[in-house]
């Protein structure tokens, strides 16, 4: 379908330019590392109770590193008004959304693959939950976060100070997802007995993901309209 063809073209363009410069990914990964460090001295990790904050920290990293990437995704189209170039091209706006979403999601996954093991190592965390569930939760949470984030980044990009606006819009809307995945992660990492409750959270997040992805997909036309 044409929708996917152009979306893939767009994603390819973004990923290719990232491959050339490697700027966003490196920054995201180092940023993730820095967040870990900042947290480590704000909240003493030697203290054993702070192990409990690890699920929180994982998601704080994903959220902050994600915001950096999301911000760029549409701001980078402002220079020379290349966004107009995409808008006058014969494709649906949803194609633009899909393309940007794919590129952002791919980069987010790379960041996670690098930074989460690093985090476990630094906080000396012994993983003894279910890896499959853990990956699933990370995947679902990132999916929802990036799906909504891409949408809101497009919305925020219309404002002059978009990199400031984005977190403001993003946090409140994604809180349900974040609460859900933090709870699920917590259970999976520390307390596998309560797995059923984690699964309930996962279902909730999945539902939220699907609903919002569809809604964003439908509404993006109005956001990108000039």
């Amino acid at each position: 379908m044409n929708l996917f063809r152009t979306a893939l073209l767009l994603a390819k363009k973004d990923l290719y330019s990232e491959l050339k410069t490697k700027q966003i990914l490196t920054t995201q990964i180092i940023f993730a590392g820095l967040v870990i460090v900042v947290f480590s001295f704000a909240f003493d990790p030697a203290n054993n109770t702070t192990k409990a904050v690890i699920p929180g920290v994982i998601w704080v990293i994903i959220v902050f590193a994600g915001i950096l990437g999301l911000n760029r995704s549409f701001i980078s189209e402002q220079r020379n008004d290349t966004m107009q170039g995409l808008l006058v091209a014969p494709m649906e706006s949803s194609s633009i959304y899909l393309g940007k979403f794919l590129a952002n999601f791919a980069m987010m996954l790379v960041v996670e693959i690098v930074s989460i093991p690093f985090l476990f190592l630094l906080f000396d965390f012994k993983f003894n939950g279910s890896l499959g569930y853990f990956v699933l939760v990370i995947f679902l949470g990132s999916f929802g976060f990036i799906a909504i984030g891409t949408f809101l980044a497009a919305l925020a990009a219309n404002s002059k100070s978009s990199e400031m606006l984005l977190p403001l819009l993003l946090f409140p809307i994604t809180t349900p997802i974040l609460i859900g995945v933090v709870q699920a992660t917590k259970i999976i990492l520390t307390n596998m007995e309560k797995l059923s409750s984690a699964i309930a959270w996962i279902q909730l997040v999945t539902a939220y993901d699907v609903i919002f992805f569809v809604v964003c997909f439908l509404l993006i036309d109005y956001v990108l309209e000039v």
């Binding site: 152009t6 073209l9 767009l10 363009k13 330019s17 050339k20 410069t21 220079r79 020379n80 008004d81 290349t82 107009q84 170039g85 995409l86 808008l87 006058v88 091209a89 014969p90 494709m91 649906e92 309209e225 000039v226």
Partner: protein
């Protein structure tokens, strides 16, 4: 080809376009003249589907601009003030990307041919960000015509071009005209307008105040007509 009826555009409380009626036939080359702030660029943006009109009807090739915008976009080649190029990409990469989006066949070959045509083959693989103004404008022109559009919307296309590039551009427009393309060109340069256009529209204050045909590159005639409209305005 293009039918505009009672087009108005309002931004905040300001009427930028106040009822534009215009019909342009296939193959015409139309220059849009007018003082600064008249609404020329706005008119072009509306046609390029970049701005929604406040009211009015636009039909392009018989298709309604609102409904069949995808079909219409395929026909349009739009060259605005900004270059619409990715700074860190080379001319080739830029053209290939946009060509792909428009579904052009054999896009690499076509792109290098175009870059050569605009005289930048030495710079084929250098990032656009270091280019001079005129060089960027050349690539921007190539970008606008990569998919052989049937309708060209050009906003001051001669800006920053040197003499050689101006004649390249004029030749491109004329050769596309031969293939049946329609061109709308906003410009302040009467000489170029007279050189390549066969019809002149003068816009003032968001309205079309004059609309006439010219022949034989009659520069004097254009200046005279323009002067007539601008009388008392300076």
């Amino acid at each position: 080809m293009i039918e505009i009826k009672k087009l108005t555009k309002q931004a905040d409380n300001k009427l930028i376009l106040r009822g534009v009626d215009l019909s342009i036939k296939k193959g015409e080359t139309v220059a849009i003249l007018g003082p600064n702030g008249a609404g020329k660029s706005t008119l072009l943006k509306v046609l390029a589907t970049l701005i929604k009109p406040t009211s009015g009807l636009i039909k392009i090739n018989g298709l309604d601009l609102k409904k069949d915008h995808i079909e219409i976009k395929k026909l349009l080649g739009y060259l605005p003030h900004s270059s619409l190029l990715y700074d860190h990409y080379s001319p080739l990469e830029n053209l290939v990307f946009f060509g792909n989006i428009y579904g052009v066949n054999n896009v690499e070959q076509k792109a290098s041919k175009l870059v050569k045509e605009v005289g930048l083959s030495f710079f084929l693989n250098e990032p656009v960000k270091n280019f001079s103004r005129g060089m960027i404008q050349r690539i921007a022109i190539a970008r606008a015509i990569i998919h052989d559009p049937e309708i060209l919307l050009l906003d001051e296309p001669h800006t920053g071009l040197d003499q050689g590039a101006i004649s390249i551009l004029n030749n491109v427009i004329l050769s596309m005209k031969e293939k049946g393309a329609t061109t709308l060109m906003v410009t302040h340069d009467f000489k170029q307008a007279a050189e390549i256009c066969d019809r002149i529209i003068i816009v003032k204050n968001g309205r079309i105040v004059d609309d006439f045909k010219i022949e034989n590159r009659n520069l004097g005639f254009v200046s005279e007509k323009y002067g007539l409209q601008m009388e008392g305005v300076s």
